[in-house]
């Protein structure tokens, strides 16, 4: 929001003494951030008011005149072609050596044989408007008595100003600060200036009475509705002072009536709307009511709006003519031919305005102010100010009684403020004198003037002040609000920081978070790189992974279609990032630990929400090698670290639908070894199609584990084994078995031998010669560790154990030892 300091100063008894930078700093510390400081109008300093004393014809050029112009010191000869100059006028004069606002340097110049000592300027040349038909006549804009020859127009037209760009966000609760009067009150308070509220009294007395009637039907949505009619207005361009005042704060000029309504809104915060009286339906009745479901309104921006029965409208006898507090209708808009204006100044329910504005997707300056909660006491001031300005700039006379319907009038609000709360809640002290100053300056008055605390009573535990809250401060409702006012004006950083006292109890350690953090550290130690990817996914990404995005939680207002859903697996994003990194990195592993969202499952901790399990997903890729076993090793080591025993099982049909991106014959379901119904996740090699879709030429293995299951199963029950004092012996055996048997089946068979002192069976390798292949057989080499806790094993004992194992393999799987 742009704030003009010249405008602000109208409401201060003293001019602002601080530099704009210092002022901006003070405002930032006590009210809201100042985002920018702009100095405007300095380029008008060299343009001055000159009085035309004499006009003669140019000797050779019939289109030109020779004017004698007084600049306050001397008379200058100026050649001028404009048709509208007359003796006695005061006009903008630019002398040789000075520049136009656009930087053009003006010099003495001979025009058709006569020397011109400067130039008279049009509006367009001064960049104050589009008019280039003639010279800007200052005396048309400002009373001649106020213009001294030689005065700078920067001063005369108040062109020179400092504009502060202030942040609205911190003012969401401050309806009063969406106006110059409100900001002026704040600046007065924080700079020890005095706020001067003009006692405005423009009486609205009708000269005649035209027909008009207003009925508020939905009184709960309309606190107040005030209106007057003004007749015989002359719709035209606004005077320069008004146009420039609006331009400085970023508002475009439309015509005098519209400009005046905007001006009043920026001045005091009260939105106004002007209807063309003659365009209202014939019986001139106005209703404030909810719209019918089928009603439509073409608003002044030309768009047709579908209304519904929650929206408050202003309607004439037939149709809506405005969306209350948001935007007026095109059909009753002011135009160049408007003769009679129906001027509305109202106050509507803030929540309803916001809801309507959100539904219509239509935010306006008016709705922004209304939804913050404007002061209903302001409507008449708005009408008076506007009527006064209309009378002086557009002529016209008031032709109706003041209509003022005020169903929402409220008692003024009171807050009991206990002085000891300053110390109790803020933790510091503010001097009594300062408290009195701050409250007074913000117009927060003790109900009983005598209640103002004296020195003795200040700080005593039971001293209470009954405060009356000004109507424009709808944000102040509780005692804490008063504390905030005191603290921010005092300066938040003028309090001395303290630390709360606490006992020595150790905080609870969140075991879930602890385990999550351990998982991340473990995977990092295992050589994987942690990445973060978006929770939002789209159809394209899911299609690439052969997944169906319809299974995901859908957003109703996504940023873009490719971010329209919330993922139920981390794998597609991992593949996407793998593809990206393969461009520059040969061999790597990635992981992400993040939540996914299950559309059709309820969260155990809050059943109103979709389940949000945390997943641990990883990916390994690189050259040639089959990465399945790398991924598996990572998973095994990770889970062993939390004493979780798992088994890797073939995928069943259900698994295949969960992980369609995997090659079924090179993938496994990871289940708990003790309770095989508990599925921890899946692991496997990515199929060729999916790799193609992600432009990945290398082999890729991925895994995804459900952290919730890991958390349930994880334990730190380490069963310690004392070390044997006796020598361990290793024996490698190569078994030839039919290739339908898995390694696990071989191990199970060996274990069934129940061989005493067999402490470990380790996998060495798998070997399939051409010959074995033709017999559908394979050879698996394992390494046995044999060790006794009681004695050193003899050759005979070792041989016996090995034989037992070989026999078991032979009995169960028909396995033979490879020769």
């Amino acid at each position: 929001m742009k704030i003009s300091l010249k405008w602000i100063e109208q409401y201060l008894t003293e001019p602002i003494k601080l530099s704009p930078e210092e002022l901006a700093d003070r405002i930032s510390l006590s009210l809201t951030e100042v985002n920018g400081i702009e100095r405007v109008g300095a380029n008008y300093r060299q343009i001055i008011a000159g009085e035309i004393l004499k006009i003669e014809d140019h000797p050779t050029n019939r289109k030109l005149h020779i004017a004698t112009v007084n600049d306050g010191v001397s008379n200058l000869t100026i050649i001028c072609g404009a048709p509208n100059i007359e003796v006695g006028q005061k006009v903008p004069l630019i002398k040789p050596g000075s520049q136009l606002p656009d930087g053009t340097l003006i010099e003495k110049k001979e025009i058709s044989g006569v020397m011109s000592e400067g130039m008279l300027c049009s509006e367009k040349e001064l960049m104050l408007g589009d008019d280039h038909s003639g010279i800007l006549i200052l005396t048309d804009e400002i009373p001649a008595s106020k213009i001294n020859n030689g005065d700078s127009i920067a001063k005369l037209l108040q062109l020179e100003d400092i504009i502060l760009e202030i942040e609205n966000k911190a003012l969401t609760h401050r309806p009063d600060c969406f106006s110059h009067i409100g900001i002026a009150r704040e600046i007065a308070t924080i700079t020890d200036n005095t706020f001067k509220n003009e006692q405005y009294s423009y009486t609205l007395i009708p000269t005649e009475k035209k027909e008009i009637a207003v009925k508020v039907i939905d009184e709960d949505l309309c606190q107040r509705y005030s209106m007057i009619l003004i007749n015989d207005v002359n719709i035209k361009r606004s005077p320069i002072w008004l146009r420039t005042k609006l331009a400085k704060v970023g508002v475009n000029s439309v015509n005098n009536i519209v400009d005046i309504t905007n001006y009043v809104m920026l001045d005091i915060g009260q939105p106004l709307h002007a209807f063309d009286y003659d365009k209202l339906s014939e019986n001139k009745k106005i209703f404030i009511r909810k719209a019918e479901r089928t009603e439509k309104l073409k608003t002044i921006d030309g768009k047709v709006r579908d209304l519904d029965n929650t929206m408050l409208v202003i309607a004439d006898y037939n149709d809506p003519i405005a969306v209350a507090g948001v935007m007026g209708g095109l059909d009753t808009e002011i135009d160049d031919n408007t003769k009679t204006v129906a001027l509305e100044s109202a106050n509507f329910d803030r929540y309803n305005i916001r809801k309507t504005s959100a539904k219509l997707g239509l935010r306006t300056e008016a709705s922004t102010r209304y939804e913050k909660g404007q002061d209903p006491e302001n409507t008449l001031l708005g009408l008076e100010k506007a009527a006064d300005l209309i009378a002086s700039t557009a002529g016209g006379e008031i032709v109706s009684d003041l209509i003022d319907i005020y169903p929402g009038k409220k008692e003024s609000k009171k807050i009991t403020f206990r002085l000891n709360q300053v110390n109790r809640k803020l933790g510091g002290e503010i001097a009594k004198k300062e408290i009195v100053y701050i409250l007074d300056s913000l117009e927060i008055k003790p109900v009983n003037e005598e209640q103002v605390p004296d020195m003795e009573n200040y700080g005593s535990t039971d001293y209470k002040l009954e405060l009356e809250i000004p109507t424009f401060r709808q944000d102040l409702t509780i005692e804490e609000d008063i504390l905030e006012e005191l603290a921010r004006i005092h300066g938040f950083q003028n309090f001395k920081p303290t630390l709360p006292e606490r006992d020595l109890r150790a905080p609870n350690v969140n075991q879930r978070v602890l385990l999550k953090n351990k998982v991340i550290k473990r995977l990092y130690e295992e050589g994987l790189h942690e990445i973060y990817t978006y929770a939002f996914v789209g159809k394209d990404l899911y299609d690439k992974a052969e997944l169906n995005v319809d299974n995901c939680v859908k957003l109703i207002n996504p940023l873009s279609p490719d971010l329209g859903y919330m993922r139920d697996t981390l794998i597609p994003n991992l593949l996407d990032k793998a593809s990206l990194n393969l461009v520059h990195t040969q061999h790597f592993g990635l992981f992400e630990v993040s939540k996914v969202y299950k559309k059709d499952k309820k969260d155990k901790r809050d059943e109103s929400l979709p389940a949000q399990p945390l997943m641990i997903s990883g990916l390994v890729t690189g050259d040639e090698k089959d990465y399945f076993y790398s991924a598996k090793g990572i998973v095994e080591t990770l889970l062993q670290g939390f004493s979780i025993e798992v088994e890797f099982q073939e995928l069943d049909e259900k698994d295949k639908s969960i992980v369609p991106y995997l090659i079924p014959l090179q993938s496994a379901k990871i289940v708990n070894k003790i309770n095989k119904d508990i599925v921890l996740g899946h692991i496997g090699n990515i199929n060729w199609d999916v790799r193609q879709n992600f432009s990945i030429e290398k082999k890729v293995a991925v895994f995804e584990l459900n952290f919730e299951q890991v958390y349930n199963l994880a334990n730190e029950n380490i069963s310690y084994q004392p070390l044997s004092k006796y020598q361990a012996v290793n024996r490698d055996l190569s078994f030839v078995i039919e290739d339908k048997y898995s390694y696990r089946e071989l191990i199970n068979a060996l274990n069934e031998a129940n061989a005493k002192d067999l402490v470990k069976i380790a996998y060495k390798d798998e070997y399939i010669s051409d010959e074995l292949k033709t017999q559908s057989k394979k050879s698996i080499t394992i390494s046995l560790t044999i060790q006794s806790y009681t004695h050193t094993l003899t050759e005979e004992e070792i041989t016996e154990i090995v034989n037992k194992i070989v026999t078991a393999a032979s009995d169960k799987l028909n396995a033979e030892l490879r020769k």
Binding site: K169, R354, L499, P500, P507, F536, T585, L609
Partner: protein, 359 residues
């Protein structure tokens, strides 16, 4: 062995000793010429092995006259010990020579080392660890948020009723079933107030979502750390002190909260407090720090916070006349970016290893 069985003749002691002496001479001659460990082993086997010459000689002791046997056996064993001693000395000598040779070899220490296969932890996780650690040391517990939550927890319970203009401060995503990918981790505040008996000290690090277009300084997905402190007698200045303590730990420098903005002390992080607005705290403030960005000092907003609004305490089942407290919710991304002077927030979700490996 055939030889032993066949030699039945009686040896004389003289010839036995002569054999020993001859063996001794041969041995020392050979030892002297040993240059390698292999040769050493060969010599060891040749002279001391079970089937070596000394062994053979020893096995002939039984063929000597009875009265000479003890003497001969003693001599032979002493010689064996002598050989062993000599070979061991030789072994040390060879090893020392090898070591000297090894030590004489110069390596280029400037060639890069062999890189171990290490992974990396995302900078945001690293900073989350750090933040969790600091607050845990200060007595806070860590709580995880729901990433999809309902309207009540995200807004209504936080003094932001439906259709309140303050809702516009958060560009909110909505799911089809009218839930919200959380816009802030404050969504856990009501649950914390309801479920933990005061004193409450908790932080909630979590992923948040805002419906805003992404550019170098804006992300639709970002990370926040909510904090809640509630107890009897907690004040505004307690909040400033606590968060100052955090900043001091995080940036590793002393933080001067209330001091002059124009302090000269270079080791201090200067801070500034500005008013802000959030409906769930009263008053809302923003703690800013002065930080060098490029070659100029700038004020950066780091911690928005405030005393918890009485309505929020009440909604959480706590009597605001008895309890008071404060809450904050700062952006983790922002802290990381400030610390490492990162210029583009999008790198966090870019997944580019060349970026991630640097942390």
């Amino acid at each position: 062995m055939a030889l032993q069985n066949n030699e039945q003749k009686v040896l004389s002691i003289d010839s036995f000793i002569a054999s020993l002496e001859e063996l001794q001479q041969l041995f020392y001659k050979e030892v002297e010429s040993i240059k390698s460990l292999t040769k050493l082993d060969e010599v060891r086997v040749k002279y001391l092995g079970r089937k070596a010459r000394l062994g053979n000689l020893l096995s002939t002791v039984k063929d000597l006259p009875v009265e000479n046997r003890k003497d001969a056996g003693g001599k032979a064993n002493r010689l064996k010990n002598e050989f062993e001693q000599s070979l061991n000395n030789k072994l040390v000598e060879i090893n020392r020579n090898l070591a000297n040779k090894e030590a004489g070899k110069e390596i280029d220490v400037t060639i890069p080392g062999i890189e171990p296969q290490m992974g990396s932890i995302h900078p945001l996780t690293q900073i989350r660890f750090k933040v969790e650690d600091i607050f845990q040391r200060m007595g806070f517990e860590v709580i995880e948020p729901f990433e999809i939550d309902n309207d009540y927890n995200t807004f209504t319970a936080l003094n932001i009723p439906e259709d309140h203009p303050a809702r516009d401060m958060w560009d909110t995503f909505w799911t089809e079933d009218r839930n919200i990918p959380i816009t802030h981790t404050s969504s856990m505040q009501n649950r914390i107030l309801k479920n933990i008996k005061p004193p409450i000290r908790a932080i909630v690090p979590g992923k948040c979502f805002r419906n805003e277009a992404t550019d170098a300084s804006h992300e639709h997905t970002f990370y926040q750390v909510e904090g809640v402190y509630v107890d009897k007698g907690i004040t505004f200045t307690d909040m400033i002190g606590t968060l100052q303590e955090f900043l001091r730990n995080y940036f590793g420098k002393d933080v001067e909260m209330a001091a002059s903005i124009f302090s000269d002390d270079k080791d201090k992080i200067e801070t500034r407090i500005q008013p802000s607005f959030f409906p769930f705290v009263e008053p809302a403030i923003e703690i800013m720090i002065k930080w060098r960005v490029g070659d100029e000092d700038r004020w950066l907003e780091v911690i928005p916070c405030g005393p918890i609004h009485p309505s929020v305490l009440k909604e959480g089942g706590l009597d605001p006349e008895v309890y008071s407290g404060f809450a904050w919710g700062f952006g983790l991304d922002r802290l990381v970016m400030i610390k490492y002077q990162l210029e583009d927030i999008r790198n966090f979700h870019g997944g580019d290893l060349r970026f991630l490996k640097q942390f």
